[in-house]
């Protein structure tokens, strides 16, 4: 950042590109890909294939024994918590009219397309959970209560499908003007023509676009809540005896907000560092995103604590059993890792201004959070999948017996973990061939609405906010 040298007041910088230059640059990125891109695509594709091999080997063992699928479930839910939630930033900061969002929205939205892949990973998990008639006294708790038909599998899957649909629609609507640009360029391909839906850029079309973004964004937001209500209640709460925890879906949603922000920050860093987008993605969005990120780190502790204190005070057998199983005895190493990496370490690091006001600082913190969330998903989902069917439905663990033992990953699990994550990266890379990684129409809007202007003896950024 430049300094006028007079009194320490910073002189702001402008983007420095004209709308025409933005178009030319972004269109060229869709047309041709560099060696770094091809390497990343081949590598992620190969690892994805390895994951598929792992999945097939594991599937040969069948779906009846849920415990061998714990790590698969944890990885799938981790992807839902991180990549699946990343598009929310694009919607939320549009709604607050935050100007700094403009270079980063597309990086977030592309993860919306990846949710389709995440849903595919989810499908096998429905073969692993018991029906509502299973378990002690032929009853297991579900949020569908005593509904016998299709519960929980069909209803839950339909809810998830709604979420995926909203995510895909949100991704599509935000890219319509850019598809029109591609359609009119030399890079035109048939999907650009179809997805641009005869966009011409009339005032009415721009207005409809804004309304469409609000509507699909709202559906996505609601879908995210639904997903983080259905998945944790059907795949975790319902499987662990005594785990009656109303805050858990909200906690799960909170971790999704945290994971989404962390995923976005890491994505922006990669795009800047290896994607050649450093002219667009500067420090501003990194710095701005750390504010909600630090809030989510402290809220992580808050939501965990709210459940803990009620259980600790209640002290019923079921409550103490759950605390011992998923937090303080069986899965303690994973719980502690999650506690340190999702809350304590990032929380302390982000208090420091120099860490937040940099590019590498938020990126490292985000990586720490992503790793922490992975451990957190393990202690939740591997633990839940480790409870045998005949225990399901009991109100309390029988503390006179040993709790189920901790399950550690084997080679097949590692193959599936690496493969599933690489698969998400692979899909993301493929989608960047479809649309530019920077939202052209919003960057052009930025050029119009961000002005550097003097006021008395200083020079400041002036940001226009249309009504």
């Amino acid at each position: 950042m430049a300094n006028n040298g007079h009194n320490g007041h910073h002189v702001p910088e402008a983007l420095g590109l004209t709308p025409a230059e933005i178009t030319a640059d972004q269109v060229s990125r869709v047309v041709s890909s560099g060696p770094k891109y091809r390497t990343a695509l081949i590598l992620s594709g190969a690892l994805f294939a390895l994951g598929i091999v792992g999945f097939v080997i594991r599937a040969l063992e069948g779906f009846d024994d849920r415990s061998i699928w714990g790590y698969y479930a944890a990885t799938m839910v981790w992807l839902l918590t991180t990549a699946g939630a990343a598009p929310l930033s694009a919607f939320a900061f549009r709604m607050t009219k935050a100007n700094w969002r403009k270079p980063m929205v597309r990086a977030a939205e592309i993860w919306g397309a990846v949710t389709i892949y995440i849903f595919l990973l989810l499908i096998p998990m429905y073969f692993m959970i018991p029906s509502s008639q299973t378990g002690a006294d032929s009853f297991r708790p579900t949020i569908w209560f005593h509904a016998s038909w299709g519960a929980p599998h069909l209803w839950s899957a339909m809810g998830m499908l709604g979420f995926i649909l909203a995510a895909a629609c949100f991704f599509w609507i935000t890219t319509v003007p850019d598809h029109a640009v591609l359609r009119d360029s030399d890079a035109s391909r048939s999907w650009n023509r179809r997805l641009a839906i005869r966009w011409r850029g009339t005032s009415t079309q721009w207005q409809i676009l804004q309304v469409g973004i609000i509507l699909f964004g709202t559906f996505f937001f609601m879908g995210l809540f639904t997903a983080h209500f259905l998945v944790p209640s059907d795949f975790a709460l319902a499987l662990v005896p005594g785990w009656k925890d109303a805050i858990f879906p909200a906690y799960h949603m909170l971790t999704a907000l945290q994971g989404g922000l962390a995923t976005l920050i890491v994505t922006m860093y990669v795009m800047r560092r290896w994607g050649g987008l450093s002219d667009y993605i500067k420090m501003e969005p990194f710095w701005a995103l750390t504010k909600p990120l630090i809030a989510t780190c402290f809220l992580w502790f808050y939501f965990w604590w709210c459940a803990f204190i009620v259980y600790w005070f209640g002290r019923s057998d079921g409550e103490i059993g759950v605390l011992r199983y998923i937090q303080f005895e069986t899965y303690r190493p994973f719980f502690l890792a999650g506690f340190l990496l999702c809350f304590l370490i990032p929380g302390i690091l982000l208090i420091a201004n120099p860490v937040r006001k940099s590019i590498i600082g938020p990126t490292i913190v985000s990586l720490i959070i992503l790793v922490g969330l992975f451990f957190d998903r393990i202690r939740i989902y591997v633990a839940s999948f480790g409870v045998p069917n005949d225990e399901v439905g009991h109100h309390a663990f029988d503390l006179s017996h040993a709790l189920p033992a901790m399950i550690l990953p084997d080679a097949i699990d590692i193959m599936m973990i690496v493969g599933a994550i690489s698969g998400a990266v692979f899909v993301y890379l493929l989608v960047t061939r479809l649309v530019p990684p920077i939202s052209m129409w919003e960057m052009k809007e930025d050029v119009l609405l961000r002005v550097i202007r003097p006021l008395l003896r200083g020079t400041y950024t002036l940001i226009g906010k249309p009504r």
Binding site: I143, A250, V310, G464, R467
Partner: protein
């Protein structure tokens, strides 16, 4: 967001200090009305101290009623100040400027009012010191810090201290304005309160940093206060109380009712002090949009509470929900609560015309708070009324007139305190309005001027 009508600094002083420097007829009428309500409440308290809790409708097993409901309600209202001030300050929302002070002051007064409720509820308020404060060196009996009833005062005391400091620090520059406009003893008092303020760049920088820093510190306190209030209930093994969701559920409900109360107050201020140039339909529009999000989040938590209470289909949990949903008069209250707390207001707030209609917003905000009061009542009373095996006698709770008068009196008390505050201090921060004027301008895009704000990097 449309900027308020541009006024010169002199005019801003004149208009916003009109409450301090002159007093109109409406002010006195309202003051007399509110004082009457407060007096009635004081009479009730005196009667309660003389006669004990027999003047209330408490009956086994329901020993928590209107007072505790009212306590939770006012703690909830107190969440308005920080929600508006801190979050909008941190997110640099321009429209916050005329809203912040009144909201912060509402926090302080509603906290004071809230704490009166449990004290009076004890019947012998002076004895509460035994379980609150570790002082008893002679007998060797100390308070039980494992009890949420000790956590509670510690949180409220912190919040009250913090929000008072927050209000005071932001008032210092405005004290200087009044100091410069008054003579005699008032000049001396305001001069002392202004601490010798001059308006140097250092003082302004500290004022701005203070706003952000105090906001950042007070936000976690704000979250803790209502969480701890919720644990008064949630850590007990009472069916439908013992749930992990209570803390965030109480906090978000508090924000819902608190921000609604800010709307009520702003509409009243606009009417009473004729601040049409400062409190504009734009502010109600923004608050309405904020409330759509807040109310929906609150409703989500309400559903989580319901779903996971009956997750295991346990008979004692079902019994409480049966009481709430299907037994008279709670079933009527639930209907009123759901409709006036969420369905009607959010349905109406979706319309921009409603959001910009100040009269409509005023009435909707009042209905929201009726719902939020009922919500607390519905949590507390049916939860206690559930027939447990160990209870030897059952009655039902019917609040007495004395309790009703006291509850109404607390509303008058908060109103009166706000009115008295407005007589001595500006309810809209003068310097904040003037800063908004300096920082907002327009940029030309094609043939249209777009409102724009200077941002410091």
């Amino acid at each position: 967001m449309k900027a308020p009508v541009v006024a010169s600094d002199q005019l801003i002083n004149e208009e916003l200090l009109n409450t301090v420097l002159v007093t109109n007829k409406r002010f006195w009428m309202l003051a007399v009305l509110l004082s009457t309500g407060v007096f009635a409440a004081v009479v009730v308290v005196v009667l309660l101290i003389i006669n004990g809790l027999s003047i209330t409708g408490f009956n086994r097993p329901v020993m928590w009623g209107f007072y505790i409901t009212n306590f939770v309600f006012w703690i909830g209202i107190s969440h308005a100040g920080v929600m508006i001030s801190a979050i909008l300050r941190l997110s640099q929302a321009e429209w916050r400027r005329p809203v912040t002070r009144a909201a912060e002051v509402l926090t302080v007064f509603s906290l004071l009012t809230a704490m009166m409720n449990p004290l009076i509820h004890t019947g012998r308020p002076w004895r509460t010191i035994y379980w609150l404060f570790p002082y008893d060196f002679a007998r060797g009996i100390w308070p039980d810090i494992r009890s949420p009833f000790v956590w509670d005062p510690s949180a409220v005391f912190t919040y009250l201290t913090g929000s008072t400091a927050f209000v005071f620090i932001a008032l210092v520059p405005d004290f200087a304005v009044i100091r410069d406009r008054t003579t005699g003893w008032r000049h001396v008092v305001y001069g002392a309160l202004a601490l010798g303020w001059r308006g140097t760049p250092r003082q302004w920088k500290l004022q701005i940093v203070a706003g952000v820093l105090l906001s950042a510190i007070i936000l976690p306190v704000f979250v803790s206060v209502h969480s701890i209030v919720s644990w008064d209930f949630a850590v007990a093994l009472v069916p439908a109380w013992h749930t992990t969701i209570f803390a965030p559920y109480f906090v978000i409900g508090a924000v819902h009712s608190g921000v609604s109360a800010v709307i009520t107050m702003m509409a009243a201020m606009r009417w009473l002090f004729k601040w049409d140039n400062y409190i504009t339909p734009d502010h109600f529009d923004s608050l309405g949009r904020l409330l759509i999000v807040v109310a929906s989040a609150w409703f989500y938590f309400t559903l989580l509470e319901l779903f996971f209470s009956i997750f295991y289909v346990e008979s004692h949990e079902i019994a409480v929900w049966d009481l709430r949903f299907f037994q008279w008069p709670y079933n009527l209250m639930v209907i009123v609560f759901v409709f006036t707390g969420y369905i009607f207001p959010v349905g109406l707030w979706l319309s921009k015309r409603v959001r910009r209609n100040i009269v409509a917003m005023f009435w909707i905000s009042i209905f929201v708070n009726i719902a939020m009061w009922l919500e607390r009542f519905l949590i507390i009373v049916p939860g206690l009324q559930y027939k447990q095996a160990a209870t030897f006698s059952w009655g039902s709770y019917m609040p007495s007139a004395a309790e009703g008068i006291f509850v109404l009196g607390t509303f008058c008390f908060v109103g009166l305190l706000l009115l008295i505050f407005s007589k001595f201090f500006p309810l809209i921060p003068l310097f904040d309005i003037k800063e908004g004027k300096v920082l907002t301008t327009e940029i030309q895009v094609g043939r249209v001027g777009v409102p724009a704000v200077y941002r410091e990097e």
